[in-house]
Amino acid sequence: MDIYLLEAVMNGVLLGGVLALLALGLNLIFGVVDVVWIAYAELVMCGMYAEWWLTDSAAWPVLAASAAAIAFVALLGVLVHLLVIAPILGSAPINQLLATGGLLFFLQSAATLLFGTDFRNLGLRLPVIEFGDIFISLSRLIAFVAALLGAAALYLFLSRSFLGTAIRAVAQDREIMGLMGVDQRRIYLLTSAIGGGLAGLAACLLLLQYDVHPYIGLTFGPITFMICVLGGLGNMIGGFVAAFIISQIIAIAGYYVSIEASYVLAFVVFIALVLLRPQGILGK
């Protein structure tokens, strides 16, 4: 096998890890609260700015800034739910989607207002490591491992704890949660916080590899929705798997043609799949 192709495949796997994290967060929120946050990638952007600002202007160490950024986005998630979603929980799903679309405009322009349109980064220079003949950037490797750890932590929480079980239960039967002694509003808030926290974690991992600017959400937001739909909206395992499939398509097509062409291909595959199998590739 071509060494460079192998490298592209490896990079695809590494990218898949971060995308999977985003898909998990979005699917979690969709499955539990039954809302698509179109502005999800913009929350990631907020997290990236938070971490950048803390390291750059407040001179925090990167790890502390990351932790604070994650907490910050988790808080943002709660606010999104309280201010935007909760008032229209009962209205048409498309209105909820659009309300978060308004949020997208808001967050983009608020970031422009606060930080301008310059590209910012942490200024970290992490080395490239060599495995046999292929080169892998350490920052991508760290991002991948941290994403998997985050996903594993989420898995443990959802499968082992009382609250986690309740979160999964809400997605299956909303109406009787009260009979279990569960306050549904609190579950929604917790879910929004976790969804935000995952976006925050993804933000820190992306900032290791990419510059942040107000419109960065647009570069990976659509691909994240696509992954979620492919896996079946609300289906966390499906989304996780789809993230790796899509990132491979992007990596391999990107290797043979160009980055944009690979995204075009991914979106076309997506459209075709949804039209042929609306329930998602892993759906029944």
Partner: protein
Amino acid sequence: MTARLPAALAALVLLLLLPLALRDYFLHIAVQVLLWGFIYTAWSMMGRFGLVSLGHGAFLGIGGYVPALLWNHYDLTPWLGIPLSVLLAALLALVVGYPATRMRVVGHYYALVTLALSQVVLLSMIALRDMTGGSLGMTPRSAGRASWYALQFPEKSEFYFLALALWLAGLALWLWLERSMGSKALEAINEDEGAAAAIGIDVMREKLRVTLISAGLTALGGGAYVQYLMYVNPETVSGVGVSLQIVFAAIAGGMYSLLGPTIGALLTIVLAEGLRVAFGTHFIGAANTIYGVLLVLFIIFMPRGIAGLVEGLLARPGRPAAAE
């Protein structure tokens, strides 16, 4: 109805005289309102069916780029380029719309598939950077003067009449669509497909028909927009932002009424311009920040839009119902 015709005629005369009264800047705004009003009206033709497309940027992009590319690279007049792009957009709508109605792809899924469609066009335009100039955009080759052949009118007031004609044609089509299937049937389809089918409506055919018309008109609007601005770049015609903005404006104005989408255009453009002027260039983003907040508030508190609100007030018991 009797009182409406004279009112409409009076409004038309006013609109025809407008260029005499307005300075260039305001004329520019008027042209924008007409062109976007036309595009939002095209979108609403689908929206009121429950077909909420987040991908009209795809059709707008085709309408914007195809004539310009044909003009620049093959010297083809926009008089042929624009109709071609309209056909192309309708064809694309057919390729996606047919299976979508067939497989009953609705709600979130429909919104996200159409979103992906606009991404396909966006990224294709960027990928074809040798021809399109990529993200930096492109300029249709200038004819140097007002030219019907090139469909270029540097003078704003000349273009104004073109935009006005387009906008009126859009309204006429809207009315024709409503007549041809009856608003009752339309509502029935939006609310309950089963019931609509039961009263003898071929739901799939109707949905496909509005989808094709809406896509074609949007491309037409895109073509006109680029002829007016003499510039196009991928984000401004096919970005997620544009697609969302179309939906917002249509909803804010009211997508169930003839003039709703135009009210939406007026509202969003005047608001955006007003905020831009108010904040100047010191606070880039301030205007859009407020704009975003207002959009969220709109969706939360006025989901039927301004036109819907006005109609609701007019239709209150105790008053004769408007329009009917």
